[in-house]
Amino acid sequence: MLRLKNLEIAGFRGINEGIKLNIDGKSLLLVGENGVGKTSVLQAIEWGLLDEVAFLEGDEFKREDALVNLFNEDGITSVKIAIKDEKGAGLEIVRERKRLSKTKGRSSLTLNVNGEVYKAKSAEMKLTEFLKISPEDYCTTVHLHQEVIRALVEGDEKDRSRAINRILGIDLLSNFGETITKQLHSASVVNRSLRAVQGIVEQLSIQRKTINDTKVAEERALESAKARLIEKGVDAEKLDQAINSLLSETKQVMDETVKELALDELASRLLGLEIPIERVDKIEETLDEIKDIKRELASVALKLIRKAQNKVLELDLLEKQHTSYLNQLTDLKLKDKAEIDNQMETVNVQLTELDKQLKRLRAKEGRLTDLKEDVYRVFNRINELSIEVQSIIKNYGDENVIKQKQCMLIEQEDTLKQDLDRLGVYNNLLNLAITYIEAAKENVCPVCDRPIEYGNILSSIQRKISEELIKHMEELRQRLQKVKEDKEKLMETLKELKRLRKALGEYEAKLDEARKQFYEITKIEPIEPLLSLIDSQIGELRKNLDEYGQEIGEFNMRLNELKRARSIIENLTSVEKKISEALGISGSSAELSESLLKGAKSKKEELEKLRLTYERVENLDERINMLEDIATLFRRSASVNALSKSLEEIDQKLFIQQEKLQKLQELVEALTDIRDATNSIKMEALEDILSIIRNDLNIVFSRLLGHPFFIKLQLIPEGEGGAHIYRIAAQSKDEAYTTYVRTRFSQTQRNLVAISLFFAMAKRSPAGLVILDDPSQSLDLEHKKSLIEVLQALMNEIQVIMATQDEIFADQMLKSVPSEKLRAYKLSEWSESGPVIKEIH
């Protein structure tokens, strides 16, 4: 258990002029505003004990000296610490360092142990032995830096996890593991290199396979080219001789053909043909030239063959046409053109006459046919009218009968009219009689002297008589009406009969007119029956028309024959003209025929000769193919050699890249091995520490938090690899409820987590000294009180050194802890010389 007695600091960070703090083994409280030098005092203790200060790291600290005070004129920092252990052994540490260009750098240490002075390395060793703590343990169990609390309170989950690692003392392992894990990330430089080399190896392998496949194919082609040549009787071992012999034979055939076809230009090209077998490209050039000459020869020969074939065909055709025309003229027995023309004129005159006759007859036939139709129509109408007349006569009688009936009806009408008049008179008389009786009547019966009712009797008589009269008159009127109707109907019938008789008369007149027309057309007397007469005349006419038609047909046939003969003579003349042109001769038809036969024979012989020449040229292909096979052999052989060379080169490259790949894979394997080893150790260490401190941790946390329900603190590591994330959870006593601190609690609780963890770890420390930098930074008043209570209890056991800018916390602390146990200094008014320090407790 260590206890700091005195502390002297000069030229260290925020403190320039020397300050001296008489702590006297009590706990120490430094109060002051931010930036006044409180942390510098705590860091001076750390540096004095360990020769290093946590958190002063990074690039900036490599560029300047952050330890020696900036305004110190001597450029020297000096820290003197007087310590006593529980056995009363005294120790005085004097650590000094001159200003450097960087923060890190060995200082000079002088150690006085109970009057015995140690320096340099021996002093460092002695100090380590005395303190019994490593720099890592110091950060974990002695000094709770404000950066750690801030990281837990304000940082993200990674910062919090790093802070916890630091408190738990596994930060080095964790950081190393994290660093190695980062190197194995898929986007890391190692993996990028590995993928790049894998890509190159793959690409080279594909290239190698392609080249090898091509080489194998070329080798096969080479073998088959050799086999082909052997098959054709070429000695594969004596290719020079074979080439020369084939070339010489080819040239000879070409020479002969060139001369035969008189192709002087090709002759000069043939002269320069040589095959240098040592150069494959040259052989191919020569072969191309040979093939070109051969193609040209074949093309010229083919053109000449086609020309000769056309000539032969032309002469054959002319001969056939000439013979055919001559034979046709012989068959027609017409050879003179003038005679043909004469005959044609006569036939034409006869045809014109026949045509006129024919037209006349056709006109006559037309008129008779029309007349026949008219007569037929008139006959039909006369029949219809006669039937109607007969029907009327049958129903009503002829005109005389109808007139008699009319007279009878007129008499009946008169009689009925008279009857009606008479009845009218009767009715008038009746009315007069009633009127008279009305005037002369007796009102009282002369017998019984009772009044007589005349009115009823008279009206009854009158009604009775009137009814009878009216009934009779009505019957008479009806009969009269019937008579009138019958009379009118008879009049209508008579009119209709007259109309029909008139129409019949008109149609009879038409028939007479038709008879006249018939006579006019045929000059034959019209006898009955007229229709049969017309039909027989039409039949006669048609017969005549057929005869004329036949005659015209015969004349037309003759005319056509004459025309054909004239056309044959014209064609013959044209063919003979063509024969004269084709053969360059002239003469009679017989002479031309003979010349034609001779010319055709000569052309056929010429064609046969050209065909043989073409065949000979085409047969050169066999030799050219053999030469090509030999050239292919040479080319394949050269290609195989080139591919073998490429294969060797690519194999060499592949070997180099595969070696690289193997080394990279080994590197990845080694890094994986190191990462796994580091992480497994870290996990074990973590579990060990957590199991050791869990009890103390929960006690401190519960006291500080003062929560009625959640009283346990849990640290749950998550994730794999070096960078573990800690989930910080609070748990109920019976462990039935768990909640994450961050989700349910404020920054205060996170501050308390840092302090709880630190106190739990500090309890394990052999140093018995606790240094706290701004421990209340996020606490509310209640929790500040809890913290003071915990610290007060702690001060009974060990020395607690604190720095705070929190005046409330400081006041509470000073009120709670007596001056026997706590000494307090106020730091203020910082200047280039450092702060003003005043003892306040």
Partner: protein, 53 residues
């Protein structure tokens, strides 16, 4: 105890392959000397050597 040798001793016993010890030593030296940036630099150096070949 020296931080380098302590870390090396802790991890080395857990390595599956003893041939990885040399690399572990190199990486821990770099890490303790200059931090994680130095480890990456060291690995880049190794990669350079491999690629340079």
């Amino acid at each position: 105890m020296d931080g380098v040798s302590e870390l090396f001793e802790m991890i080395s016993v857990r390595l599956r392959q003893s041939r990885h010890l040399e690399l572990l030593k190199m990486l821990i030296d770099s890490f303790m000397e200059e931090g994680s940036g130095a480890v990456e630099a060291k690995i880049k150096e190794i990669l350079h050597e491999i690629e340079g070949e």
